[in-house]
Symmetry: C2
Subunit: 240 residues, 2 copies
């Protein structure tokens, strides 16, 4: 008799981090339920990337939730404001940039919590990373711990003690290069993923926003080439 | 020189509790930004009630957010399952009923948090009530405290110390009769509000679901008559 695998909800943005997180959850034996958000971001190509990724893995179900965080305003990722390009990669993470979307991970994790409770599981995976990141407050370990504590007061199953909530953050202390190496070990095709905040109309990454700079440095440090196409990149990254 | 009023986000469902909460926030001098959710509930009449209420108060802005918690399943309020009718009002709150929507207040408060941060305020009002309620875990003081702690780790403004988050719950220790009396003192027209889980097609309250029973008892205890129409009610409540 085979044991029924434990269920998990995995947040999947279609980026490098969440795709590696999904591969880690599968490798750990979870039956993965992937959740993606169309939240009013200017570029829907990350939702398409999430669909490609979900189709390439043995995912039990992939749900895309739609709502509009853009109606509140306050972010270059949902408003019609220019995405900033860092002058130097060393400056990334020193200040919270305007690409920060207010309370985004809180909204995303809340939907994941709702689905997890319906699936009768307490396992939620999110690919936040506190090393090579853009300085968003809702990527820090203190935040994740506080969300988990709140979640354990929020749901029927947690309060009744049948299903405590665990927010899994397997990437939180990994560098971008570590994440890329781990993903490659698990067979992730990073050519399916997208990270750029400001892609061209034909879907090529800009090569200069914070997300591109962190991604390119990660591939360089991992000693491998990023398979996605870029409009242009600085020579230092040595990509194709 | 007049002082700019402090802003607050107020969750407004169109029910008796949230409408009284909105009136309390206005009476406390806040500039109110009301937020309502079309979350996949079977009956959209509460959204219409919220619009009526918002139009009757000096609200700075009213936003209706749309998404579908129903796609996860798990509740009689979003699924096509019958709404239970309590045999005895004393039994309400002893068990968490199937009208519970998984993680609903967590999702709602997360959206409120996103808007509050954009408005550069930390004040959020929610009309939860831990006395005359249906036993939902996300109406309890422990839950609200945990959400506030999480929120203060989640946002840029809270982490930078410029705008700590406070979740105001003015009704949390009030009976339904207290809430009705306070609302009437503040000039609330409860005829605008709706509470029923299972209204008739013409919008009349069923008079027998948990929400109707609690509402009717509240009006009876407050010594006044509920102005909304009911399909039928038990004689004991003495409504019209």
């Amino acid at each position: 008799m085979t044991q029924t695998p434990k269920k998990a909800v995995v947040l999947l943005s279609g980026g490098l981090d969440s795709t590696t997180t999904l591969a880690i959850a599968l490798a750990a034996g979870f039956q993965v339920h992937a959740i993606t958000f169309r939240y009013g971001q200017r570029h829907a190509n990350e939702v398409e990337a999430a669909r490609r990724v979900a189709a390439c893995f043995p995912v039990a179900r992939h749900v895309v939730c739609t709502f509009d965080l853009g109606k509140f305003g306050g972010s270059a990722l949902t408003d019609n404001r220019p995405v900033p390009h860092a002058d130097r990669i060393e400056d990334i993470g020193r200040q919270i940039p305007i690409t920060y979307v207010p309370a985004r991970n809180t909204v995303f994790l809340s939907f994941a919590l709702a689905w997890a409770e319906t699936l009768e599981t307490g396992h939620i995976f999110i690919g936040v990373n506190a090393l090579d990141y853009s300085g968003y407050p809702d990527c820090r370990p203190e935040y994740i711990r506080a969300f988990q504590t709140m979640a354990n007061q929020a749901t029927k199953a947690a309060v009744e003690g049948t299903c405590p909530v665990t927010i899994h953050t397997p990437l939180i202390q990994m560098t971008k290069a570590d994440i890329i190496r781990r993903g490659l070990q698990l067979g992730v095709d990073f050519g399916l993923t997208t990270s750029c905040y400001d892609p061209s109309p034909d879907g090529r990454a800009c090569g200069h926003c914070d997300a591109c700079l962190l991604r390119l440095r990660g591939f360089a440090e991992a000693g491998t080439v990023d398979p996605i196409p870029y409009l242009s990149t600085s020579a230092e990254h040595g990509t194709q």
